[in-house]
Symmetry: C2
Subunit: 100 residues, 2 copies
Amino acid sequence: MSKFGMYVKFTAHAGQRDALAKLLLESAESANAFEECELYIVNISDTEPETVWVTEVWSNEAAHDASLGLDETKAAIQRAMPLIAGVEPIKLQPIGGKGL
Amino acid sequence: MSKFGMYVKFTAHAGQRDALAKLLLESAESANAFEECELYIVNISDTEPETVWVTEVWSNEAAHDASLGLDETKAAIQRAMPLIAGVEPIKLQPIGGKGL
């Protein structure tokens, strides 16, 4: 089965980027429990002060979709929602490389 | 020192995506020799048929910059150039998460 990847661009409300990044790092911590979540990296941008990018790689798309249905994920989304002005996902199919 | 990351969006000339992805996978293979290159993942897109995204994480920006000066890197860029219609890099500062 193909691996599944995403770059997710979160735009925070003004002044809320660091609070949002902290919540996303907590989600990354939770992702340690999921073997099928291979990467969940939180990035900030030097040039876009309200942006947080999350790099995700999953063993398959079904595992990613299943994670969205978990109570823990839903609660994390609820906590983050007030900080978020916009979300733009880019879906990817990782095909190889170093660290995969 | 801060880690350094990039998403690099390569747009291939029509029909050249798979050839470009193959060359980028060879670059990923070369990156195995660089301890400071932590991730170099090649991705294709289900929705953009000429796009290849590369996810890079380096221990620091200087290591990334130094890699661009190597003869091997310059030769790889020369081989890829005829296949490439455009390159759009997004610079990132990875701050944490799973797999970092």
